[in-house]
């Protein structure tokens, strides 16, 4: 599946109990804030800036995410353990979903 073969960057933290993947934009302030939040909380995560991928790849990633989660893709879009998701950086939502 395309989502498994993308060229993600990895950030290592002391917490590896969740598989966290962030779909972001390189230009987005709240994407940066979300990733800083994860880093500050010690989570390892992977991310990809979709605006730096070819248009066809980006469109297909967005289509797959929407099909999987029945949610329009806005940024940041986080997938947790391949089964839950967070859209946008609303700190209370992230706290709850990450069990903090």
């Amino acid at each position: 599946m395309l989502l498994d073969t993308l060229n993600y960057s990895s950030v290592e933290g002391s917490r590896n109990d969740k598989d966290i993947v962030i779909y972001s934009l390189s230009t987005c302030g709240f994407c940066k804030r979300a990733m800083t939040y994860l880093k500050d909380k010690g989570f390892s995560y992977r991310y990809i800036h979709l605006d730096q991928t070819p248009l066809e790849t980006k469109s297909e990633v967005k289509r797959l995410l929407k099909a999987s989660f029945n949610e329009d893709v806005a940024f940041p879009f986080a997938v947790i353990d391949k089964e839950s998701y967070l859209v946008g950086f609303i700190e209370e939502d992230w706290k709850r979903t990450l069990g903090l």
């Binding site: 934009l25 390189s26 230009t27 987005c28 302030g29 940066k32 605006d51 329009d72 806005a74 940024f75």
Partner: protein, 109 residues
């Protein structure tokens, strides 16, 4: 089209804010990152696409997302800041609160 600098973009944001009666987010680190994103979008696409939104590939498709985006007025009225938090209402700014993420009104159901 000549390239924009971050200073050009900061001036643009200040002019928009002044015209609309808004405040540019006083969190300078955050605002600089937003202005960098806007500048990058101008220089790659030729228009100020909101840096927190993804391009649909053409200016026509993105027209509701060009800064200040079509949703800014409603978001500032309701939440005190626009989606990317570049612009704040005067009352939100004077409250001292930090903007948080909000739902993208473009996809409001």
């Amino acid at each position: 089209m000549p390239e924009k600098t971050i200073a050009d973009t900061a001036k643009f944001a200040s002019m928009v804010a002044a015209k609309q009666g808004w405040i540019v987010n006083p969190d300078s680190d955050f605002t600089t990152s937003i202005e960098e994103g806007l500048t990058s979008n101008w220089n790659s696409m030729g228009y100020y696409l909101c840096p927190c939104r993804d391009s649909d590939g053409t200016r026509e498709a993105d027209k509701d997302l060009i800064c200040p985006c079509k949703y800014s007025w409603q978001d500032i009225d309701e939440f005190g800041h626009c989606y990317c938090a570049l612009y704040l209402s005067t009352s939100f700014a004077s409250s001292g609160r930090a903007p948080g993420g909000i739902k993208d009104r473009r996809y409001a159901k």
